[in-house]
């Protein structure tokens, strides 16, 4: 009976186009969309050169900035795309938004003209600031060195050399910053975790569909199976196993896509993630059973209820903005303690960001407990064979 039901339940699920779309295709599409939209946002190498103009006059040619700017606007990873022009033209370019800003020089000083505050404008000002102070430092150190030489009584001074040394000192100065931040913290990864959590919960659609078929008070097919000599336990077990297999196959597809096509970095914890996903799917599956058994309504109403619960859970666990999870965790912690989506996403955070295995295992256990509770509350309805009314 197990095999018979398993086989046909597989066919039932895979032939149900709506079901396959929402549980398998939709998460895949979302993953691709996330990737396309977010792939650049945290990718610093993909930084585009900033278009600026430089007022090309006498003062510029005598400025020390000239070499620095030439350096910054050449090569593959150049920061500036520079147009050398006169002041009127530069002003016009700026007004037409064709450049971020322009530089004009008077004597040794530089002036930056921009439209308004913005990302590129801030970076532009920052870099110019830095060049300026670097130049000042080089001059200061060079002058100091020369002064020292003179004080020491040296007359044969190679000024060029001292300034060059100072300049080298500045450009080659190594800064020792150790970035210990966790890269799995990125927004994109958080979106992927939410997506996996949502996909896990969607497995409820499978179990709900299958259980509906087994309940005599829900579907005509359920009546037909109820009057057959087949034992309900065996049938249900076969069906749910099929639901679980389809769900895992869908998840596997999602993971394969994310790892090999999109290139999401799940690090070394793949086994742990898969365990978490399996537990999450189990929670989804059992929740689907509970909705099918406990909610006395038509199939469409149940579907709406299940999707509604899943989406609400996703929202509270931060799918539409991570702040939500923080707010809930701080103010109504109980809500996310009983929210299976939050258990899954929290498990991911525990694994990747907080580096706290205890918290991960607590999440796993929570999911197991949640599944058990779902099964227990739907047990009576599942086992029932005789009804008060049909």
């Amino acid at each position: 009976m197990f095999v018979h039901n398993f086989k046909y339940s597989l066919a039932l699920l895979l032939k149900n186009r709506q079901l396959v779309f929402w549980t398998i295709a939709f998460p895949l599409i979302m993953a691709v969309l996330f990737n396309m939209a977010f792939s650049n946002i945290e990718n610093e190498e993909a930084f585009d050169a900033i278009h600026i103009a430089v007022v090309d006059d006498k003062d510029f040619h005598s400025s020390i900035f000239k070499t620095a700017l030439e350096e910054l606007s050449s090569g593959d990873d150049k920061i500036f795309e520079i147009e050398y022009t006169d002041k009127t033209k530069a002003q016009e370019l700026l007004e037409n938004n064709e450049i971020t800003g322009y530089l004009s020089f008077s004597g040794d000083d530089v002036k930056v003209t921009i439209n308004s505050n913005g990302t590129s404008e801030t970076i532009l000002c920052y870099i110019i600031d830095e060049i300026k102070s670097d130049i000042a430092v080089i001059t200061e150190i060079g002058t100091e060195a020369v002064k020292n030489e003179i004080m020491a009584g040296n007359t044969d001074i190679d000024y060029e050399k001292y300034y060059k040394d100072a300049s080298e000192l500045v450009t080659n100065s190594e800064v020792n910053l150790k970035d210990t931040s966790n890269h799995h913290l990125s927004y994109v990864m958080i979106e992927y975790y939410s997506l996996i959590a949502m996909t896990c919960l969607y497995s409820g659609l499978f179990s709900m569909t299958l259980v509906n078929y087994k309940l005599a008070n829900v579907s005509a097919v359920g009546k037909r199976t109820a009057v057959s000599p087949a034992k309900k336990g065996g049938m249900l077990f076969g069906s749910l196993a099929a639901g679980f297999v389809v769900q895992l196959a869908g998840l596997l597809l999602l993971f394969l896509l994310m790892i090999f096509v999109i290139g999401a970095d799940f690090g070394t914890n793949l086994a742990m993630i898969l365990t978490l996903s399996v537990f999450g799917s189990l929670a989804g599956l059992t929740m689907g059973i509970a909705v099918a058994v406990l909610i006395k309504a038509g199939e469409n109403a149940k579907l709406t209820a299940l999707i509604g619960i899943t989406m609400a859970g996703s929202f509270l666990s931060g799918m539409m903005g991570i702040t939500m999870k923080n707010v809930i965790d701080k103010n109504v912690p109980i809500l996310n303690k009983i929210n299976p989506v939050a258990m899954i996403t929290d498990g991911f955070y525990a694994l990747y960001y907080y580096d706290t295995p205890e918290r991960f295992y607590i999440d796993l256990i929570s999911l197991a407990v949640f599944s058990a509770v779902m099964l227990i509350i739907s047990w009576g309805g599942l086992r029932r064979q005789r009804y008060d009314s049909l």
Partner: protein, 313 residues
């Protein structure tokens, strides 16, 4: 005396206020086609669902094949076939796969199952539609598939709950023919319907149910006797006055006379020359009619007589 297949004793099923089935007792005998007849909401389906152990009932006992029927009476269930009112098939499976799935709940041996499925498809005339999906089938074909799913495992006792609702005449004939074949193959059949003609054509014995109670049972002929109507004479005539109608009602043997403006119907308890009397009366009173004919009463008349309401909805 033939063997009793089903014994229902004092079956009562109460919903909150309503007694859907009230102290119902009846037996079903081996290899007969029993018709359960009654208007919508009379308790037919409830009775069947109680017998099948799908519904809890308030009191009474139900035995099938001599044993008490319980939800876990798997050995009894193995020998049952049920065709419900609603079409119970999977939209996602083909005709063949649907039959295979339901047959597989009874028979796990594959080779035997394949043969049984072939027989069921033949019986219901679905040979050309094996690869079709339910949504591609017409209403009649869908009903036939519904039946094939219920009987493929060759049950000994078959329940058919209004299997011909909304079915075209060709499919209906096919279905009725199939039911007869099943009986000839040795099955006992319980058939519920509110179509009079079907019961008259098909059933060996009829039980009429109304408001959860049996109001009559027997063969088609014995029921008609019960209603004490032997003959019905209809006269197509226009402009009959009330006074004339009253005179007709006083005829010897006449049980009732009714006139709807076009048709005069007179029911007789017995007698032989009734039609002659009417013709004479018409001629004597100079009444011109277009048609006059005499009929044996139908079950519909019986039903009307017994319950005071029309059977058809």
């Amino acid at each position: 005396m033939t063997k009793k297949i089903i014994e229902v004793t004092d079956l009562t099923k109460e919903y909150k206020q309503l007694k859907a089935v009230d102290q119902l007792s009846f037996d079903v005998y081996d290899k007969e086609i029993l018709g359960l007849l009654g208007p919508n909401g009379s308790g037919k389906s409830t009775t069947i669902n109680c017998i099948l152990s799908l519904l809890k009932y308030s009191s009474g006992s139900i035995k099938i094949f001599g044993e008490e029927m319980k939800p876990d009476s798997y050995e009894i269930k193995r020998k049952l076939g049920v065709i419900f009112q609603d079409v119970a098939v999977f939209q996602e499976l083909t005709v063949y796969d649907n039959i295979d799935y339901f047959c597989g709940l009874y028979i796990s041996e594959k080779k035997q199952r394949r043969e049984y499925i072939k027989d069921a498809i033949e019986l219901t005339g679905l040979e050309d539609y094996q690869k079709f999906y339910p949504r591609q089938l017409s209403g009649g074909l869908l009903r036939r598939l519904n039946i094939a799913c219920g009987i493929a495992h060759k049950p000994k006792l078959i329940f058919l709950d209004e299997p011909t609702v909304a079915v075209d005449p060709q499919s209906r004939n096919n279905i009725l023919e199939g039911i007869r074949k099943l009986r000839d193959g040795g099955a006992t059949i319980v058939y519920t319907t509110h179509y009079m003609e079907e019961v008259e054509q098909l059933c060996d014995r009829i039980i009429i149910i109304d408001k959860g109670k049996i109001i009559a049972s027997g063969t088609s002929d014995s029921l008609k006797e019960l209603a004490k109507i032997e003959e019905k004479i209809t006269v197509e005539i226009k402009g009959l006055s009330d006074e004339i109608l009253k005179r007709i009602e006083t005829f010897p043997n006449a049980a009732a006379a009714e006139y709807d403006g076009e048709r005069l119907t007179v029911s007789y308890r017995s007698g032989s020359a009734n039609i002659g009397d009417i013709i004479d009366f018409m001629r004597d009173n100079n009444l011109r009619y277009t048609k006059i004919y005499s009929e044996r009463p139908t079950l519909n008349d019986v039903f009307l007589e017994l319950t005071g309401k029309e059977l058809r909805d």
